[in-house]
């Protein structure tokens, strides 16, 4: 029999034959949430960013984090200790097997922060298991995975929130609101900050594989193609390798900034239909003529952005513009646009409000801001733009059928074979 907190309390009280003192907090008094109203959460693959997001989950009184699955022993131990410290008990369990989390009937939702190669497949497996999902970005490696992920979430009626938390950060919300409510006039161009486009096919030198219980390399690779172990990969330096980092690194920030541009352009239900790369800048155009420019930004303030900070976006209408970035600041063309007050300054990387919205939606079954459909299209834009960049030519894309027009080579780049036995 699986031991649960509830069955433990029941059986231990009978066995001991003495009155059991149950803390008021466990019953929902003292401002705590009763167990029956708590959302039980498990984690899958929580490295540094995953643990930042986990903090926001642990800070919620209506969350009980019960189990961490990670293929790296050191990482799962850190998470287990974090949770146990938060709850002042030893209840959080750890495992190297994600199916231990997905198989638990008491788990309502999962936080997935593995690495891009796993995000879609793990999310689809979680949806099949009936779990709601908060998944770090980028959520897909390819156009096809973006479609498969959204289809699975909709098929199983799950609540899905991509870790594109800027949809719930004040200054970005403020900027999008100006654009969407006509305060900037008719939107002409939206600008998304992106990192340097690149993809390496190199393999790092082979090193001896650690014991499976320490690092399960086969499971770390998951659906990604095989290559020999090297500790650099598992220490977070897997980015910019084609096999692990989809879309030539464009979705790394594009998952946020392109997504915000989609929002600002009131285009969450479509995608641009033309893309042309000019060096590291990609010019895209929607069917209605609105332009999207994906251009360099970076950790060192690259690019000619007005507002300093990572992940900048800029929305330009025929009557004004607004710009926002991770510093929490906004800049506007006209002081009148700030009438009513500027937004509160909140770091763009802060997931607190985004996590809270996800949890509220788990309860209400409403769609959160970064739901599967929004994520599908935002990610597709990033992948399509990257394919155009890789091919070095203008590409045209059917926004309804989600295929390239008259370009077989580009269409073949919309998918990658997954390493067996993994499939969606």
């Amino acid at each position: 029999m699986k031991l649960t907190r509830r069955s433990f309390l029941k059986t231990s009280a009978v066995a001991l034959g003495v009155p059991t003192i149950i803390p008021a907090s466990a019953l929902g008094r003292d401002g705590a949430v009763a167990p029956s109203n708590r959302i039980v959460v498990g984690g899958i693959g929580l490295g540094p960013r995953g643990r930042e997001v986990l903090k926001s989950f642990l800070n919620q009184k209506d969350v009980q984090f019960v189990m961490i699955a990670d293929v790296q022993k050191a990482r799962r131990e850190v998470v287990r200790v974090m949770a146990n410290r938060q709850y002042n008990n030893q209840d959080c369990q750890e495992t190297g097997e994600m199916f231990d989390v997905l198989g638990r009937k008491d788990v309502d939702a999962v936080l997935i922060a593995t690495g891009d190669r796993w995000h879609a497949v793990a999310s689809i497996l979680a949806a099949k298991a009936g779990k709601d999902i908060y998944c770090e970005k980028p959520c897909s490696m390819t156009v096809r995975e973006s479609q498969e992920l959204a289809d699975a979430i909709n098929r199983y009626g799950r609540v899905f929130q991509a870790g594109t938390q800027r949809r719930n950060v004040d200054n970005f919300q403020f900027a999008a609101r100006l654009a969407r409510t006509g305060k900037l006039g008719r939107i002409q161009t939206v600008h998304a900050g992106i990192l340097t486009l690149q993809e390496s096919h190199k393999w790092l030198p082979a090193e001896p594989e650690p014991a499976k219980d320490v690092v399960d390399w086969d499971r770390w690779l998951g659906p990604a193609p095989w290559r020999p172990f090297n500790k650099e990969y598992i220490n977070g330096r897997w980015r910019n390798y084609y096999d692990f980092h989809g879309g030539a690194a464009l979705p790394e920030w594009g998952a946020h900034t392109v997504d915000l541009c989609q929002w600002g352009a009131s285009a969450d239900d479509t995608v641009p239909v033309e893309y042309e790369a000019e060096g590291q800048t990609i010019h895209a155009r929607y069917a209605n003529g609105v332009k999207m420019v994906m251009r360099l930004s970076g950790f060192k303030g690259e690019g000619d952005w007005v507002v300093p900070g990572t992940c900048p976006v800029r929305f330009e209408g025929d009557e004004g513009w607004v710009e926002a970035a991770d510093t929490g600041k906004v800049a506007v063309a006209n002081p009148k646009l700030l009438e009513g007050g500027a937004p509160a300054e909140m770091a763009g990387t802060d997931p607190a409000k985004h996590v809270r919205e996800f949890l509220d939606c788990v309860k209400s079954r409403a769609k959160p801001a970064a739901n599967a459909d929004v994520t599908r299209r935002g990610h597709i834009v990033s992948h399509v733009a990257a394919i155009g960049w890789r091919l070095g030519r203008k590409v045209r894309f059917d926004a309804v059928k989600e295929v390239f027009l008259d370009d077989a080579e580009a269409n073949r780049m919309c998918t990658r074979a997954r390493r067996a036995p993994w499939h969606a």
Binding site: D151, R227, T415
Partner: protein
């Protein structure tokens, strides 16, 4: 944020020409990992037919996935049972639309085992190869070859009337541990059928799911999917 102060700052910054940005972009581009020049199909095939290492052959397979035609099929198919290159070979074969690639995958099924067998089955599903339905049905009912879950998943991806019938059989009388993956596959197949205008077949398949696993989450999903098809 203090609006007046920030606006002044903004005004000053906004007046700057875009020269600085161009320089920054140029610098960043120079630091980027350069794009590898794409190989021609002949070059990639030459790598596969040489004594090049696993890494070089893996790269060649991926390149071929982007543009190769029928003449690359045999070289890729020959790698399907390779421990490490099998999946890379599949990335090549999945991209080749010509039926010779599908035939190569189907022909490989009897000889492949374990992960390599699972991988070939997955690729057949991705290719939505309707010619493979009968073989997939056999694999779905075969408890010894260990690829039943992949076989039903691929039947779901193919999602035509024959695949639906095969899934119905697995749901009704297949091995107990294959019924849940078959039910999930049936949901996918039902979507394909409905999209193709065959709502009746979709409903029948969804009904098979609810009968096979009546009190499960997947059956609950099937009921909702069937309800959405009412009137179609």
């Amino acid at each position: 944020m203090k609006p007046i102060r920030s606006l002044l700052l903004v005004s000053a910054l906004f007046a700057l020409p875009a020269v600085a940005s161009a320089a920054a972009a140029k610098k960043a581009a120079a630091e980027a990992i350069p794009k590898l020049p794409p190989m021609s199909e002949a070059q990639a095939l030459a790598v596969l037919n040489s004594d090049a290492g696993v890494q070089e052959k893996a790269r060649a397979c991926q390149e071929l996935g982007n543009y190769a035609g029928p003449k690359s099929v045999s070289a890729l198919a020959a790698l399907l049972d390779h421990e490490h290159l099998g999946d890379y070979a599949r990335s090549g074969l999945e991209g080749i639309k010509d039926d010779s690639a599908g035939k190569a995958l189907r022909d490989a099924l009897p000889r492949l085992q374990g992960r390599q067998l699972a991988g070939a089955i997955n690729s057949i599903g991705v290719r939505r190869d309707s010619a493979a339905v009968a073989e997939l049905q056999k694999l779905a009912l075969d408890t010894k070859r260990g690829a039943a879950a992949e076989a039903v998943a691929s039947l779901g991806l193919i999602g035509n009337a024959d695949a639906a019938k095969a899934l119905q059989q697995v749901l009704a009388s297949g091995p107990a541990d294959v019924r849940t993956p078959a039910a999930h596959a049936a949901l996918v197949a039902a979507e394909h059928l409905a999209k193709a205008g065959n709502a009746a077949a979709a409903r029948k398949l969804l009904d098979a799911v609810t009968k096979a696993l009546p009190s499960s989450f997947v059956a609950e999903t099937a009921r909702k999917q069937a309800a959405a098809l009412k009137g179609r």
